[in-house]
């Protein structure tokens, strides 16, 4: 089948990701570029412009040459450039199966939300669960604490894994965490132990989410926190402890899963639309954001 070059834009609450993919039409494809930039209190539209430009540069394509530009996440930000929109879990499912074809469950942990998704081999979403209106136990929460402890994000994992005894954390409010941590430091708890305790508490929450979605194995973790090896280790322990036999996987490009998935769905849609156009006028419209 004809190759289609598409872009996926994933507008998260902390960062924007863009992926450019050559889709081969048989479920496979080749990545041409994956770019990420943190929003850091800037106007997301400006950030998007930058990320998109870099990605297109890396992929060596012009925006007019793309067959489809798909947005996901806070799609409104991408309104000016996108062809259509797909919802977050749909895209993470697709991106995850692309990155790790064995994956039958996906756990996307970003800055504010965590989502557990059950998928089949074709990346069809079979079931899903999402955290509600409390940012306790997501990326923002871990970031706040790391910030306070003076630990960089990429150092968290190793530190946490080095801890001997985790410090149990009761309150896991993303905002109050700082006070809790101050309290812990005041009691002489080490940085590593605090981080480990936090990871444990987040892992419990995530394990619960996975349970609620009845997630199977193997599980690919996507989103920014896939890079947090400390959290992944705790999650594995938690799952093993509860008797669930789930193999936990990560991928270096995990954080881009949403953007990759969006690009792939864009290609899928483009082909379907083309087929429908051949068969007669389509009633379908791109789903609204």
């Amino acid at each position: 089948m004809q190759r289609l070059t598409c872009a996926g834009i994933d507008v998260g609450s902390s960062s924007i990701k863009v992926a450019v993919v050559d889709d081969d039409g048989d479920g496979g494809g080749a990545l041409r570029a994956t770019v990420l930039d943190r929003i850091r209190r800037r106007d997301p539209r400006t950030v998007l412009d930058g990320v998109l430009r870099t990605a297109l540069g890396e992929a060596k394509v012009g925006i007019d040459e793309l067959a489809y530009v798909a947005s996901t996440g806070d799609g409104d930000v991408a309104e000016a450039v996108r062809t259509g929109h797909f919802y977050g879990m749909t895209c993470h499912a697709r991106g995850a199966v692309f990155l790790e074809p064995r994956a039958r469950a996906v756990l996307d942990v970003g800055a504010l939300w965590a989502r557990a998704i059950v998928v089949d081999a074709r990346a069809k979403v079979l079931a899903s669960r999402m955290t509600s209106q409390c940012a306790a136990g997501t990326g923002q929460f871990i970031e706040n604490i790391a910030r306070y402890l003076g630990v960089r994000l990429d150092e968290i994992g190793a530190l946490s894994q080095a801890a001997a005894r985790p410090e149990p954390v009761s309150g896991i409010c993303a905002v109050l965490a700082e006070t809790d941590v101050i309290n812990m430091v005041s009691r002489g708890v080490s940085t590593a132990e605090i981080l480990r305790g936090i990871h444990e508490s987040v892992a419990i929450r995530l394990a619960k989410l996975l349970r609620a979605a009845k997630a199977g194995s193997p599980l690919l973790v996507t989103g920014g926190l896939a890079q947090d090896t400390g959290l992944i280790a705790c999650l594995e322990d938690r799952l093993a402890e509860s008797g669930a036999k789930i193999e936990v996987l990560t991928h270096p490009l995990s954080v881009h899963a949403g953007a990759i998935g969006a690009a792939l769905w864009g290609a899928f849609r483009r082909r379907k639309l083309a087929a429908a156009a051949g068969a007669g006028p389509a009633v379908v419209q791109p789903s609204p954001a």
Binding site: Y87, M89, T90, S128, Q133, W265, P288
Partner: protein, 391 residues
Amino acid sequence: MSEVDVIVGELEARFDDLSYGHVRAWKDAAPGRLAIGCLPVFAPREVLWAAGALPVFVRGAGDRIDTVRGDAFFQSYICHLPRSSLELGLLGHLDALDGMMFPNTCDVIRNLSGIWQDAFPQHFVRFIDPPQTGERASATGYFRAELEDIFHELCTRSGRDPDPAHLAAATADYRVARQAARRLALARLEAPWNLPADEVYLLRRAGDAMPPRDWAALVDRYLAAAAERGRRAEDRIRVCVVGAFCEQPPRALLRAAERAGCYIVDDDLTMQLDADAIEPTGEPDDADPMAALVRAWLAGGRPSAVRYDEAGRAGRALADRVRATGADGVIFAAPSFCDPALLDQPRLTGVLDAAGIPYMAFKYAENTGQFQSIREQAGTFADSVKLWGAA
């Protein structure tokens, strides 16, 4: 402005009038008229109506007021409906009502009835505990005595003669309303794009506080007008919404769900157990209309989370409904902390799993203002049915 817009405008005005101005107007139009507030989800509407009292369903205040004093009664892990209902009362919005009826639908409503007695000593407060036992002689006697008591008490208050003929007439009036409700449901099934969930919802909410025949007329006016719209069907999935029978989701939530790619073709919003679940069969029993009402309740109807599921058929009934309405899947939308709705879910999903019917679940509160996560979940659900559905 099109006729539909005019009607929807009227419905919105009614909905936004937290003080039930139209109920007051109805009462003022003739002496002796009463209005009785009814908490979800059961009220013996025929009995009230026959006694000259307009049944008015009070379903919380949604996101239209900030609850302040209502919070003084309930902890954070209790659903929201009772606090905003109290807030309405404390702010004087329920002054048009002469009393309140509390059905035994859950522990929260039950205890709310006691609070109401303390907080509004001037109200006629009545707790009603309809039998959960199916058709048994003991239940018939007990329930009939309860209803008779309510009938006589209200007749005394309204100055009406407690004549069984009033009961027969009231039953006939509500039959007209029930038939209109059925026409509305069918019309939506056929063309949900012409009858958005939000509008149908407003229309039904209007029925919460209107004389039955007036409401039936309003429904027909709306149906005629909406049919004129001739909107185009979009590529959306059809869903049944289950669990939202008591505390109501904010209207914006219904809109968010539809915008995320769904058509709501069936739901248990604004459920009134006597209406949706029970169809008094046959002609009213003119000789003994009260017996007919009692029989109708005890015979049961559509299963619901707040009635004892004696035969254990709730799950199958839901699967049948999904097929009958041609829905692609089910959205379980339950109020946070609602024991009846939430405890039912695993039983129901088990049956749906077995039947291969997709579903999703989320919780809400009547004053939720954030729909991002709901949009996301409903959107993903719609995406997956659309991309992978059989069709």
